[in-house]
């Protein structure tokens, strides 16, 4: 009987289970930036802002030639002293030091754009949203927290470009239970971070019997000194993300270019094979 009840309950809740949010800040779609200039800009941003801590140890500097750069341009602008243009993009930050300073070793970024993909969006979408979702939080060692990656150890390296002041509102809807564990109502706790990262909290109970539990983060607009406007910042991040997506699979340009020719040839071949087959099988009675 319990089995049957569970079955009916499960079936009744099936739609809500399907719709239930597994958690996670909704991801923005990373804009398509396929022009070589955007990818070169992204490479510049990557080398300047990311390559200090993060390695990209599968990526060779001279592969940047695929983005239309000459070896001299790479050597002059994108290479740290001591590296050769045929070297892999490794960093000298030791994992031990990194763990001590940031709590965790910065992951290698060679294929990060492939690794971060999920049902919520592509890896590029994740990184694009992540880099634009930092907000000030004085309780964190770096002074910044992130809506996409809560309590991340990485500082907001692009703070100068985006702006140094940004707040957020985090509201959490919880069930209120009595001593026996029965749900008697819902409460909403809102933690507000002002533009300088100071936290204040407010809890209020909610009217009504039906509320979705969960956490909702609302990011405030950036205020204060900004090197780039919001649109300019988004564009720079889009270029960086486009570069990361390219770097995750440099062969993709060639792969997609070849695709149409391969399929055209094979379709022609299939057509001829079809007619050849038909001509032989006419003899079979």
């Amino acid at each position: 009987m319990r089995f049957l009840k569970k079955l009916i309950v499960a079936l009744a809740f099936a739609p809500t289970l399907v719709l239930a949010n597994e958690g996670g800040f909704p991801l923005d779609h990373a804009p398509d930036r396929t022009e070589v200039a955007a990818l070169q800009n992204g490479a510049k941003l990557f080398v300047n802002y990311c390559l200090n801590c993060h390695a990209a140890s599968a990526m060779r500097y001279n592969r940047l030639r695929d983005l239309g750069l000459t070896e001299d341009q790479i050597k002059g602008n994108l290479l740290f002293a001591g590296d050769k243009v045929g070297d892999l993009m490794k960093v000298s930050l030791s994992a031990k030091d990194a763990k001590e300073w940031f709590g965790v070793a910065p992951p290698d970024l060679s294929v990060i754009a492939r690794a971060k993909a999920s049902e919520a969006g592509t890896g590029g979408d994740w990184i694009y949203t992540y880099l634009r979702s930092y907000y000030r939080d004085n309780s964190r060692p770096t002074g910044w927290n992130n809506a996409v990656f809560p309590n991340v150890g990485m500082p907001h390296v692009l703070w100068e470009l985006q702006g140094e002041k940004r707040g957020a509102e985090i509201s959490e809807v919880k069930e209120v239970k009595d001593a026996s564990g029965k749900v008697t109502g819902f409460s909403e706790t809102t933690a507000t971070f002002d533009a300088d990262g100071n936290r204040s909290e407010e809890t209020k109970s909610l009217e009504g019997e039906h509320h979705h539990t969960g956490t909702h983060i609302k990011l405030m607009p950036v205020v204060g000194k900004q090197k780039l406007s919001a649109l300019e910042y988004d564009t720079e991040v889009a270029d960086l993300v486009a570069y990361l997506e390219w770097m995750a699979e440099p062969a993709q340009t060639k792969r997609k270019a070849l695709a149409v020719w391969v399929l055209l040839f094979l379709s022609l071949f299939a057509f001829l094979a079809w007619r050849l087959n038909a001509s032989y099988w006419k003899e079979v009675k």
Binding site: R60, A251, R255, W274, V284
Partner: protein
Amino acid sequence: MAFVEKKLPADAPVAAQALNWVDARFPLSKLWNDQWGKYYAPKNFNFWYIFGSLAMLVLVIQIVTGIFLTMHYKPDAGLAFYSVEYIMRDVPWGWLVRYMHSTGASAFFIIVYLHMTRALLYGSYRKPRELVWLFGFAIFLCLMGEAFFGYLLPWGQMSYWGAQVIVNLFGAIPFVGPDLSLWIRGDYVVSDATLNRFFAFHVIAIPLVLLGLVSAHLIALHEVGSLNPDGIEVKDSLGADGHPLDSIPSHPYYTVHDLFGVSVFLVIFSAIVFYAPEMGGYFLEYNNFVPADSLKTPLHIAPTWYFTPFYSILRATTSEFLYVVMAGIAAYVALIFLKTKLNILIKAAIAIVGLVMVVGMMPWALEAKFWGVVLFGSSVMILGGLPWLDRSLVKSIRYRPDWHKYVYILFGLAFVTLGYLGVKPPSPFGERLSQVCTLIYFGFFLLMPWWSTMGKFKPVPSRVTFHPH
């Protein structure tokens, strides 16, 4: 007998003379003619009959791409992940070889599942083709092992943790479990030792066995001759030349036919390789682009899509579900006692086995995890029993009672549903649905000796149904 070499006229072409020389020393032409050139096959093969030759094509693709990958891959826990990236970036056309291998693996399973569906539809496993089926079943087992061992090699998060989960399943076997897991792994956890031996299994041990089994599969098939969609034995109607009236030589008819099938397959295969090699995370999983980290367990560990139907059955076996299984075993033993004419000793043996299982499923006996592994294994092994479970009066679904089609459709739906649920994280609804589908899956096979004989069968023609092209 004295050595005899056929004498050709002096002006015979060089190629003919060379072939003649070889034929006197090695049965080359005989092999060609017996196995393909003059191997007579029924003329009414349909779409479902292409998957055998496609399976052979994909085996060759996997071996050739595998050889090229092995030239550059490094089977060391510290080097493996980035050696794959080296292949993708620095080896000329390495990316193409890698994608062909990863797409080929999934293609292999799609093809093999469709190939087995054909057998189910037309009774290809019925007498006298039981051995063809058994060799094929062994190939399927080896294929699953090959895929499992191969999946560890990229040394990504999914590789590592998937292997960890599956090898730990062996730990559920009473008494020998933990030692068995240790022996398989070569270490207390999945590590470099495991990677090295899985590399050896994947690259040479299982491929050798696979090649032997595929040969045996084809030899067994050619010995009795192929079946056909009408499920009738074409050798029952022979022509004046000694060949079945309804058969044609494989060359040239099935050579060009299979060539066409191969060309269509290559279009689909290449579309995936060139446009969507990740296939939405199903052929190349996203989490596998993170190097393996023994200290970080992924939120969702799921096997690759082709294992998920059986994985669902494992997950469905909860301690709650065991009560249903116990009831099922009791009912099945009762059915065997009342509705079969088996020897009383055999019935007694079955009853004892059933009793032992029911006792073992009690909450104080073996845990649900162990029985989950048992059901998981049984769901695969039961396929081997098909030739003896199917008692239908006809071989092909064409002449079975109409409602049998719905039984097959229900089974197919249950199998696909189990597969779908297997890729999703567990949920209360998913648990219930997978339990229901598990019952359908096992019911389909275990009750087949009875339901396959029921209903009004249609008259089977003496000659195949063929519409000239």
